[in-house]
């Protein structure tokens, strides 16, 4: 078992992540303007930017779903209880004792069990909730009569948005819990991260050119 710097976030995955981040921030800002929580931009602009950002994000998600399915990366998100408790214990207790993170990244499992579970919940619950309610909201006139369901749709949409905002806060905070904030963000920029590899994995990845030529953990 050796630790190597490996390309774990492909170009599409990084693009997906950062484009999604930008769109979520744009949607959050314009959405709260539409909801009337701030008036830094006018309503018409807010609605316009919100709508186009939402359409772009849905398109991005369609590509991402396709990517997950075709590349098999969906396996990273299969929930597991193995190690879940250890990670939870670390964040709730060990981190204050100066312990090291108990999870070691492996090539076929780039997220720790708690992280994978959180992302899975985001992708299967919050994201569908916000885009289904969002499409219902946007296309209200196509399905609703005078029955007043818009309030319900809007409440689901808003609640999902607030939950996503809570997720973003926790997500950014957790970047500060490792060696450094930068060390956590860097893999999503360069694509490379330290991963424990079996010998077989290492030789396979070396042959495919997916190991960093230079960098921490690369052979001297």
């Amino acid at each position: 078992m050796t630790t190597r710097s490996v390309l774990i976030f492909s170009r599409f995955e990084r693009f997906w992540h950062w484009a999604q981040m930008a769109l979520i921030f744009a949607l959050m800002f314009t959405g709260l303007a539409v909801h009337g929580l701030h008036r830094t931009i006018d309503f018409e602009t807010a609605v316009t930017v919100h709508t186009w950002s939402a359409i772009a994000l849905i398109a991005l998600w369609l590509f991402a779903v396709f990517w997950h399915l075709t590349t098999g990366t969906w396996r990273h998100y299969v929930p597991t209880t193995k190690g879940l408790w250890t990670v939870a214990r670390f964040y709730a207790y060990g981190i204050f004792k100066g312990e090291h993170h108990p999870y070691r990244k492996v090539y076929w499992r780039k997220h720790n069990p708690l992280q994978a579970l959180a992302y899975l919940a985001l992708k299967l619950v919050l994201f569908p909730a916000i885009w289904i309610s969002g499409i219902a909201y946007l296309g209200y006139n196509l399905w609703a009569d005078a029955s007043g369901w818009l309030g319900v749709v809007a409440a689901v949409h808003l609640l999902s948005a607030y939950a996503i905002l809570a997720f973003v806060i926790a997500h950014i905070y957790l970047l500060t819990t490792g060696h450094s904030f930068v060390a956590h963000v860097k893999p999503m920029v360069t694509g490379y991260d330290e991963v424990d590899l079996t010998d077989a994995e290492e030789s396979y990845l070396r042959e495919r050119g997916l190991l960093a030529r230079k960098g921490p953990g690369s052979p001297p």
């Binding site: 539409v34 909801h35 009337g36 929580l37 008036r39 006018d42 309503f43 018409e44 609605v47 316009t48 709508t51 186009w52 964040y91 981190i95 204050f96 004792k97 100066g98 209200y140 006139n141 009569d145 005078a146 029955s147 007043g148 818009l150 309030g151 809007a154 409440a155 808003l158 609640l159 948005a161 607030y162 939950a163 905002l165 809570a166 997720f167 806060i169 926790a170 905070y173 500060t176 819990t177």
Partner: protein
């Protein structure tokens, strides 16, 4: 006649003595300052009426002109006499109550019935003689309903010289002689030879002056629409589209589309097939059901509004924008004050065009005006319910809506409409809890506009119509609502989204539906829990980490 001239002279001299303008716009149609006809550019007539032999005159009187008109337009008399312009009558669909100026009580001069001597100068007729009036006013059934078509006044609508005018049918009391200021006599032949499709000033002769003066009643109709600028009305803009009223109020055999009694609050038909819709004055009958261009998100989204928001709600940002004020409050309680035994008036409101408006008149009471007013918004299904002369109400529920509108968010045929809201304090029958007819106009001892005695005027007004009256009157606060549909602004001046999509916006008082930007505040509290919880958790966690690592370093 001598009396009229003398009082007229007296009035002019008093006005000069007081340094006031001799022009008093809000008393009578005859005082319209500008008489040149508006231009109708879209006429497609195939006849030149100046060449018609029958119109060469000379004409002794109006009916003689009408006889000439009807000699060619053989069916026009019968057609016109079946319209509300002639009958002044209609029925409320679900209650069967009698509507129309012949019956209704309003919140202005309160009733035309019994006061036709002045009010029916807006009835397109002539020829009523002394014997056509009884104690209850004009004998509608006998002389109007069974009337002679030759008594139709064609010219008041179709004169295109701008010189035609009407005067009150009867003379009235001395106190009202201000109305008889001199005007050049009408050249009936000239008017007859210059007939045409109606121009804005023809309709305006009556409709701009409803309620007893320029712009008093409606808030969206006043003399500024004779020659409006583009900001005042994008369609009637005299230098632009220059629409005549009939461009929207299309007519067929003299039946004119568009009614305030039965409003098309929501048009589901749109433009229809070419030439099909001759009975619609709706915006949709020209602009269709998806009027906004769909080249932007905003445009698509605006089209989503059409089913619940009347076009007028966004496209008429304010009422009375043409420099003419509309009346907002009328208090009859103060009427009847005199100075040295004479009626008087105060003129303490100066409107946008510089004209002074009466704020007090002995014959009517006190008034307030407004310009550039934001309308009142409400769900509206097109049906106006009236408090008629025979409708009893509970005075404890005042203000009493003299015309209230139906509609709600749950009703798919209702839309949010703009209204002018008028507040009045007017006499009512304290014993029977009904409205009253007042005998205002007449050269007799009972007419309020002369004796300043409500008790007598009400007694007479009710008795003349054979209505029960308890003998005791009081004053009650009333409201009336006037759907706003004219003075459509250019699109760049339409109401912006955030004027409604806001917590305290224009629609703050309109309920029954979810309005983004206004509603859903309870969700924010859950949001505060979620987001605040995350922030607190993160902050607590960070503090603990900081403290524990500091302790570790120290040890």
């Amino acid at each position: 006649m001598l009396k009229m001239v003398l009082t007229g002279l007296l009035l002019v001299s008093t006005q000069i003595a007081l340094g006031k303008s001799a022009v008093d716009v809000d008393m009578n149609f005859r005082l319209v300052k500008e008489v040149a006809p508006t231009l109708r550019t879209e006429s497609s007539s195939t006849a030149d009426h100046t060449k018609f032999e029958a119109l060469q005159g000379p004409f002794r009187d109006g009916p003689e002109v009408t006889r000439a008109c009807l000699s060619c337009h053989t069916e026009a008399g019968k057609q016109f006499m079946s319209t509300i312009h002639w009958t002044w009558e209609g029925t409320e669909p679900d209650t069967g109550r009698q509507l129309g100026k012949r019956h209704l009580v309003n919140t202005f001069c309160t009733n035309a019935r019994g006061n036709e001597g002045i009010c029916a100068q807006c009835h397109a007729s002539y020829g009523w003689k002394e014997e056509d009036f009884g104690p209850a006013g004009l004998k509608w059934e006998e002389v109007v309903d069974a009337g002679d078509p030759n008594n139709i006044d064609c010219l008041v609508c179709h004169d295109r010289t701008g010189t035609y005018y009407k005067s009150p049918l009867t003379e009235g009391n001395e106190a009202c002689s201000v109305m008889f200021q001199g005007k050049p006599p009408i050249d009936l032949g000239e008017a007859a030879r210059n007939v045409g499709s109606v121009g804005r000033e023809n309709c305006g002769t009556c409709h701009f002056y409803g309620g007893g003066g320029d712009g008093v009643k409606h808030g969206d109709m006043d003399s500024s629409l004779t020659r409006p600028t583009r900001p005042v009305d994008v369609h009637m803009d005299a230098d632009g589209l220059n629409f005549a009223c009939t461009r929207c109020h299309v007519s067929e055999t003299h039946a004119v589309a568009g009614s305030r009694y039965h409003v098309t609050a929501k048009d589901n038909e749109g433009t229809g097939k070419p030439g099909e819709r001759r009975n619609a004055a709706t915006c949709e009958s020209c602009h269709g059901l998806s009027p906004h261009p769909i080249d932007s998100v905003a445009g698509v989204k605006l089209n989503d509004h059409v089913d619940r928001i009347a076009c007028q709600t966004c496209h008429i940002p304010a009422m009375a924008r043409g420099g003419v004020a509309t009346m907002t409050d009328w208090d009859w309680r103060t009427a009847g004050r005199t100075q040295n035994g004479e009626g008087f008036k105060e003129t303490n409101y100066t409107q946008g065009d510089g004209t002074h408006r009466d704020t007090y008149k002995s014959i009517k009471g006190s008034f307030e005006y407004g310009e550039h007013l934001q309308p009142h918004y409400a769900w509206f299904d097109g049906r106006i319910r009236h408090t008629t002369i025979d409708t009893a109400f509970d005075p404890a529920e005042a203000p009493i809506a003299i015309n209230r509108f139906g509609g709600s968010a749950e009703d798919p045929n209702s839309r949010i409409w703009p209204f002018k809201e008028m507040r009045t304090v007017q006499p009512y029958d304290k014993g029977n809890n009904t409205l009253v007819y007042m005998h205002l106009w007449g050269d007799d001892e009972d007419a309020y506009w002369g004796n300043y005695d409500f008790a007598r005027a009400i007694e007479a007004g009710m008795a003349h119509s054979g209505l029960p009256y308890s003998g005791e009157y009081g004053f009650i606060e009333t409201l009336s609502y006037w759907p706003i549909t004219h003075m459509v602004a250019p699109k760049e001046e339409a109401v912006a989204c955030a004027e409604c999509h806001a917590r305290e916006g224009r629609l703050a008082g309109v309920g029954g539906f979810y309005l983004p930007g206004r509603d859903g505040r309870w969700v924010d509290w859950l949001g505060v829990l979620l987001v605040g919880g995350a922030l607190l958790g993160v902050l607590g966690h960070a503090l603990l980490r900081f403290a524990s690592s500091a302790r570790r370093r120290a040890s």
